[in-house]
């Protein structure tokens, strides 16, 4: 029914899970035992993290033994996904450092991201610019004036 998972993806994700669990396990080492109740704060996260690590190691071993061929996603799709991640990271960072107003940052972000996804086709760019401005400035107006919600940015 479903395509098989690329063993490299399988191993990479299992490693990510192991790292998260290992960090949690390490962080719980100094938690003192409970004084008013038998269990204390540490055993539940420790047991959870340990179980995750054991099972994730099992998944890695299984992925390493699996030699069957797999279908990989098209390279273009991967590049697009990478662009989404990178531009979103820059967008959130810009808001974190309050570089300018939400409306301006959102408009620039949308122009760049949609532009990247449509390969900056000149015929579509005027529409993209208009859409980005409407979403950026329109949402700033609606959220701050109508819903009276704060937005990130200056």
């Amino acid at each position: 029914m479903q395509d098989r998972v690329d063993p490299r993806v399988e191993i990479g994700v299992a490693l990510m899970v192991i790292v998260i669990a290992a960090i949690a396990l390490f962080e719980t080492r100094d938690i003192p035992p409970g004084s008013f109740e038998p269990l204390g704060s540490a055993p539940v996260p420790q047991a959870t993290a340990a179980l995750i690590i054991v099972m994730a190691v099992g998944l890695i071993v299984r992925a390493c033994l699996d030699r069957r061929p797999v279908a990989r996603p098209p390279r273009e799709g991967l590049l697009d996904a990478g662009a989404v991640l990178l531009l979103t990271l820059l967008y959130v960072s810009a808001m974190h450092y309050r570089l300018t107003t939400f409306a301006v940052m959102t408009t620039i972000y949308l122009v760049l991201l949609i532009g990247t996804l449509i390969r900056f086709k000149p015929r579509s760019m005027p529409f993209v610019l208009a859409l980005a401005a409407v979403v950026g400035f329109g949402s700033q107006y609606i959220f701050t004036r109508v819903f009276v919600v704060d937005l990130p940015g200056l």
Binding site: A49, I52, M55, D80, T106
Partner: protein, 503 residues
């Protein structure tokens, strides 16, 4: 029964108040629209809508979200039938027969069957919701901490074992969800844990940014990978959209059976609409006199799939209302919505917030009627939504994800949490870890741990009551069986394979 009916009357009164009714209609329409756009899901819509509900009355908020829930499960049938693209995962089985029937020149008939079946499924499960929720909640008041602990454990194992076929991945996802719910000040001992001496983590990771990240951002990244996919299309037709009475009678038994299956599957904690749809479809095929027609445009197949997936909605609300245990991923989000409004789901909900509970039950009924009306009237237009270019839509949704996460407490930390969990969710999905157990683990872990520690305090550290109290022991046995069964099945399969290889 009298109390239930009078409660329902009160609930209907609340739902038919102008504002609440507007929200039910709005929620159902938005749900249908989002369900009809492949790649967007009801969970995503509801997670993104949560921040807007802070400013609403609790009743308005829950009726809006329930409308979305009902609408999103149904909306997916349009694209499943006309484009062979299930709008939501629960409509996958509908594509097998809906699309071939539509291609054979009967798109209106295919849609009409799906709409009628969706309505029937919604109503059948609603009857069970109305009749079972209160008695179950009364029964659940007998639960002590060990019963609750073992019930949640059973729910976790259940969802892990049925989510996507891989038990270990389901368990890892569930445990990971539990682990990421643990940072913050431990409420039992009052001391911080897993905070890395970082004050932002003292309050723990909030549900909303995690949900938006895992369901919306990760889905957007996945959708971007799939942007180049070509869509096959059958034009919509109005002929046959309204199902004649004789067809309701003809498919009545199928609807009833599939509705019951969907409701039962929905009641099982954490098991969603997709599984209900698969089981009902397979059962109908096995009972059919013409099983060879399934997959080639069988009307019974469409009816079974759509009745069951809609029936899971009412079914899944039963454990949520009665015990505070989510019956599906969307129900886990609904728990978050209730908590935002200081409403704690659980057996006492009928007593503490009876008006909200009956408003939820009434909204479920009204939303089904709204769904029927909207679908019959506007299927042709809704079908066109599938052509909204995703290259324009997905980036705009990311902007709303940012606004939703930031709006929670006006801190950028929540936006970063959303982004990080978007990447984690994307990674998990790429490696086919089910996301349902992750979210349900995240929602249920604090309750599970609190119950365990309360129980241990009561018994001076002994877990013996888990084996001596009948209800707790029953849940424990079911959890163990659910855990061991797939492993035994796998072992038997391998042994059979080895035996046939040597022969």
């Amino acid at each position: 029964m009298e109390a239930v009916l009078s409660g329902l009357g009160g609930g209907l009164g609340l739902v038919f108040a102008p504002m609440a009714f507007f929200f039910v209609v709005l929620g159902t329409v938005l749900g249908i629209v989002v369900g009809a756009i492949p790649g967007l899901t009801g969970a995503m819509l509801i997670a993104l809508t949560l921040p807007l509900t802070y400013y609403m009355l609790p009743t308005d908020a829950v009726v809006l979200l329930i409308g979305m829930y009902v609408g999103s499960i149904t909306g997916g049938l349009i694209t499943a039938t006309l484009l062979r693209m299930p709008g939501t995962p629960s409509n996958v089985m509908t594509t097998f027969d809906g699309y071939p029937l539509a291609r054979s020149g009967k798109p209106g008939r295919a849609l009409g069957l799906g709409i009628a079946a969706s309505f029937a499924g919604g109503i059948i499960s609603w009857v069970f919701l109305l009749l079972l929720a209160k008695p179950l909640s009364i029964w659940a008041t007998r639960f002590g901490p060990f019963e609750y602990f073992t019930l949640i454990m059973m729910a976790m194992v259940l969802i892990a074992s049925v989510s996507q076929g891989n038990l270990v991945k389901g368990l890892v996802a569930g445990l990971l969800g539990m682990l990421v719910s643990m940072p913050g000040v431990d409420p039992s001992a009052g001391q911080p844990r897993l905070t890395f001496d970082w004050y932002m983590l003292n309050g723990g990771l909030k549900l909303l940014p995690v949900l938006i990240g895992v369901f919306a951002v990760s889905q957007i990244i996945s959708d971007v990978l799939d942007l180049g996919r070509k869509i096959e299309r059958v034009e919509s037709q109005r002929t046959g959209i309204l199902l004649p009475i004789r067809d309701w009678i003809k498919y009545g038994a199928n609807m009833l059976r599939s509705g019951l299956i969907g409701t039962l599957v929905g009641i099982l904690p954490g098991v969603g609409a997709s599984i209900g749809s698969v089981i009902a479809y397979t059962t109908t095929k096995n009972l059919s006199k013409t099983p060879e027609e399934f997959g080639k445009g069988s009307e019974a197949g469409i009816v079974a799939s759509e009745t069951a997936n809609n029936a899971t909605v009412g079914g899944a609300l039963i454990p949520l209302i009665a015990m505070g245990i989510p019956g599906s991923v969307i129900d886990a989000i609904l728990i978050g919505a209730l908590m935002i409004h200081s409403i704690t789901p659980g057996p006492a909900l009928f007593i503490t917030n009876g008006d909200v509970v009956y408003a939820m039950i009434a909204a479920c009924l009204v939303a089904n009627f709204v769904m029927l009306a909207v679908m019959v009237a506007s299927t042709g237009w809704v079908a066109k939504l599938a052509y909204v270019p995703r290259t324009y839509l997905l980036p705009v949704i990311i902007v709303f994800c940012v606004i939703g996460s930031f709006g929670l407490d006006n801190v950028m930390f929540d936006v970063w949490v959303m982004l990080i969990f978007g990447v984690i969710g994307f990674g998990l999905e790429r490696a086919r870890y089910p996301l349902g157990p992750f979210v349900i683990g995240f929602v249920l872990a604090p309750l599970m741990e609190a119950k365990l520690r309360t129980g241990l305090m009561m018994t001076g550290g002994s877990i013996t009551p888990m084996f001596t109290r009948p209800i707790a022991l029953s849940f424990l046995i079911v959890a163990i069986v659910l855990l061991v069964w797939p492993l035994v099945g796998e072992w038997r399969r391998r042994r059979a394979a080895a035996a046939s290889a040597t022969a």
